[in-house]
Symmetry: C2
Amino acid sequence: MSQHLNDTICALATPPGVGGLAVIRCAGRLAFELCDRDFNSRVRLADAADHTIHYGWWEHDGVRVDSVTCSVFRAPHSYTGDDVIEIGCHGGPHVTAQIIRSLLDNGARLAEPGEFTKRAFLNRKLDLTQVEAVADLIHAQSRMGAQTAARQLAGGFTRRLAALRQHLLDVCGLLELELDFSEEDVEFVDRTALLAALTDGNAIADQLAASAASAEILRSGFYVAVVGYPNAGKSSLFNALLDRERAIVSDIAGTTRDYLEESIFLEGYTVRLYDTAGLRSSDDTIEMQGVRLTTSLVEQSNLILVVNDASLGKHHSDALVSSLQDIAGTRPIVIVHNKSDLLEDPAAFSEKGSVAVSTIRGTGLESLRQALLEYARSSSEGVSDVLINGRQASILRDVSASCSSARAGILEGRSMDYVAVDVRAAIRYLGDISGETWSPDVLDTIFSRFCIGK
Amino acid sequence: MSQHLNDTICALATPPGVGGLAVIRCAGRLAFELCDRDFNSRVRLADAADHTIHYGWWEHDGVRVDSVTCSVFRAPHSYTGDDVIEIGCHGGPHVTAQIIRSLLDNGARLAEPGEFTKRAFLNRKLDLTQVEAVADLIHAQSRMGAQTAARQLAGGFTRRLAALRQHLLDVCGLLELELDFSEEDVEFVDRTALLAALTDGNAIADQLAASAASAEILRSGFYVAVVGYPNAGKSSLFNALLDRERAIVSDIAGTTRDYLEESIFLEGYTVRLYDTAGLRSSDDTIEMQGVRLTTSLVEQSNLILVVNDASLGKHHSDALVSSLQDIAGTRPIVIVHNKSDLLEDPAAFSEKGSVAVSTIRGTGLESLRQALLEYARSSSEGVSDVLINGRQASILRDVSASCSSARAGILEGRSMDYVAVDVRAAIRYLGDISGETWSPDVLDTIFSRFCIGK
């Protein structure tokens, strides 16, 4: 590992593809030296001041590759904590490939996925929850998700965990002192205060663990399964909902096309519409089989949208709705009465939990968007300064269980030896979250979410 | 235009998508002020030294968006020649969208396609051939193309044009002096030297214009039409050629998938394989119709690859080859004898202009790749320090025609008034190439090749 950390690594740091600008990051002991071999400028990077930018030509083996800027970050004042050069070049694939190849020629190696951020962790520039915040910032499917990840990156969550851990450490120290003097029957730790600390730990851990589902909405988007009998107008509804927003976000955020085909963007939320193809067939006999195929989609969704052909009656899809209710459980079902332009009294169709729309006239779509946004918002409430993920939720449940067990031990009058074991476990778990204690396996799992260049 | 130039503009400068890092460029009179409103750091950007990098938090309306670096470029020492801030943030679409939105809120406007580079031109940081080199660097489909564009960006071509133009300007000055003194019948300009200068101009312009076709190969790739009777093994050949190279370039250069499906990368060249679907049908009667459908593809290609099922005989595709020869003209036709594993004597099939391969055994593929690379190389010879494009070639032909006309005038003993008109035209055309003279229409055409952020 230490040999590994001594390597000088490089990779494309900006997204792949074509753009005005691309940045290649080179980090490690020899970063300045390896870059200086090809960077033709008035300034030697090795001599350059920290946090300065230098203009020059990248030339390798006598071949001029591009006019570039080199930004100098001296250890430890860099992203990874190493000496780092960021090479800004024109964003063409054959330009970036040439620069990366020349760095490899000069003795650097290609960075592994997430290796820059891993070094930042190992060099104590970021703790594990901040590392996870970086991944969430990059991949967040909602503005709120990105903002929460930014707060998490700022370390608010880390400080809360650290405060809780410190509190338990103090308590534990006194408990252990008390155990050393157990012959003398002295109480160093006030039992009421200890119980209060454990109750606190319990509540905080439970509350944070419970926010994982909401966090997942901010992180990955609000999943909506769109269900309906054939010809109810699901496709038209899809297209009507997609229209305008798509172009805007595509221009600004540059998200990929594959993904936009199914998503709408509502005030910073990504709402992912999943068409349930199983109900598309026009053959009535396979409809219920379609429902069964739909089951897994519905189970994974945050909300079910039933598209009803209102021209066939308000209750035309009732059988479908009731069959879905069993699968949906507590998940909301919203009925969209489509083709409201064919109705004499569309108002009669507007009631709680349903929206009347006409995809042809474009009426009711704003109400539907608003309803989806409200559901997305209320489903992601309670997330403050951290996007709890699966790893953290699992550890938090362990923290909570340890606190509960310690409390029960005290209340049941068990030996303080047992209680101390539980408190120590809670402390160790809290350390696992932020990475004060870590194993290579845990790091591997976390960095498997990263790509090369991060 | 001047009001327009006073605007402060911003855009994502790096390719859209997900990555470790993204860069947003903000350029214009208010760049420092607009960024300072949201950049929470120990340093005010307005006070910061030129070419320095500052770390801080991007916060808009009290919301923490991301931890960022701001790089300071003071006019005129920036890409555009304006005051420029480059904001380096985490490469997530919801992060970059928030920062761009906050800059728009603060009073910047979204940059138009190519507007940063257009400003660089208007502020005399780049001439037109350098502007075109930027586009070619970014979009080049070959390493050689990118390298040539880099030399063009360095200004070698500009200097050659300027030297030629200056030479003609000197000659023209003397010619005009001579015309002023025409009553006195003095020869200020040595006719032999004048003819030599015009012959030079003629030759240089012709040679450069002629390199446009080669430049197009470096810029866009070497186009290969793959033709063959049904079941000759075209698809297997496609896949066999694609394999390994694909993954490598995709990792390093991050080119898109759509494009890779048809391209192989050979020592810096992009070879674009076009399958001619017209010949895919198994119905023999429509084969010749298929050939007709293939015509336009063959006409646009640099080389035609005929896949012959060698197990049906060496001459099985001769009729197809001869029908293609009419369309191909001087373009090379290479015959690939596929299924060579079924032959008793594969060596008998190897002759000039043909390669025997077995896609099943993987034999002969390296020879075929080598042959394609040799053809790509020889077809793109003669390109030195400029990738002549259509606009430049067209103007260069005008330069050449003007020089020819002036020479003819001298040799025919016509009045020097007429000769001077031609020389002046050649000078004006040369100025059009580098943009010493330009029209808004020409700029619009050139910048239509650019995207937002360049």
